[in-house]
Point group: C2
């Protein structure tokens, strides 16, 4: 957590520092992200930086906390509809919301990529593993509920399905932003639908297969 001094800063200065920091963590993996560059680009002295943050890790964890809160807030309306929609419809809405979130905040996508890249660095478990585990649990619960309702086949390994669903979620974003367009347009729905259709055929029960 940043020190009190940071929160006493004028709003715009705080925002500038955060923006510069996010750009740095988006452009470089954690060990190569440079405090020197951040202070230079933010126009503050090196000493000031260490009045605001304990160290580089402190800053990264704070940035990730902000991103996490924003993403949860973004997906909350969708997740609150659980129970009212069938599994695949809910999943489709989650995928679409995920893509839009990614497109509206390309910096966050890059930061996530850089972090995923540092799977071997000691920073990884502290930074991302917990968040990933939470997402995984959510998908597992959704799948178990869907099996109970007869929307998903019960002869498959739930963990493997959760793994597949979570992975495809990332792949949708990757495919769309890298192979189709970097902006949000009507093709987004088509891509998401094709992925959902794969899933419906792959793990859905027979009555789900031809909607």
């Amino acid at each position: 957590m940043p020190r009190a001094t940071f929160f006493n800063l004028p709003e715009d200065k705080r925002a500038l520092i955060l923006r510069v920091a996010m750009e740095e963590f988006a452009a470089h993996p954690f060990p190569r992200a440079s405090v020197n560059r951040i202070v230079k680009r933010a126009g503050i002295a090196k000493g000031s930086f260490y009045q605001y943050f304990e160290n580089k890790k402190d800053l990264l964890l704070y940035v990730l906390q902000i991103i996490g809160e924003e993403k949860r807030a973004y997906l909350r309306p969708v997740l609150e509809r659980a129970g009212q929609e069938d599994f695949f419809t809910l999943l489709r809405q989650l995928y679409i919301a995920g893509i839009r979130f990614a497109q509206e905040r390309p910096l966050y996508v890059q930061i996530g990529r850089q972090l995923l890249a540092s799977r071997n660095s000691p920073i990884y478990p502290e930074a991302l593993a917990r968040g990933m585990a939470i997402a995984h649990e959510i998908f597992e619960r959704m799948i178990q509920e869907a099996i109970r309702r007869g929307e998903v086949r019960e002869d498959l390994d739930v963990r493997l399905m959760a793994f597949l669903v979570a992975s495809l979620n990332n792949l949708v974003v990757e495919y769309y932003t890298e192979h189709v367009a970097s902006e949000y347009d009507e093709r987004l729905l088509k891509v998401a639908d094709q992925f959902i259709e794969f899933l419906r055929r792959g793990i859905g029960t027979d009555r789900q297969k031809h909607p």
Copy 2:
């Protein structure tokens, strides 16, 4: 390419240097992989290193070339059966061979991960992009052939299918080695079959769906 001096080295010394280098590239992303550590662990002088290799990048590209050749040789027998087997059977054999290759050479898997992580580094296009494109082409050709034979639905986007098949290939390896076992055992076939079954239902024609 390494300099001639490197190839004049006694076999065991050359092998030692390569092994140490692979361990280094497996443990750290390229920019943090340290020539200093490599020479120390290999017991050679820094100057000698630069008699053997132009620079750090030269060494990495050589390591990747070796890995690529080994993998091609490993998959060749399977790919030569193309035309004799149907699409999904061939794919299943490719997936299984891929898992076994990954398990027999865990170092290579780590090196690949570290590289994939450096997607933003200038080393990436030189090092991996070409190899990935080749794999992608192979899958696209296999899919087109399968469509011609009526084994795969023709109403889907071929590029998206190739993307999916390639991605699932990586996911199979990841899931099995991280969630099931680090050793080869009978569960390997089950995991591969679940992924293949998922694909068969998702992109196969109706006559493929219930084999």
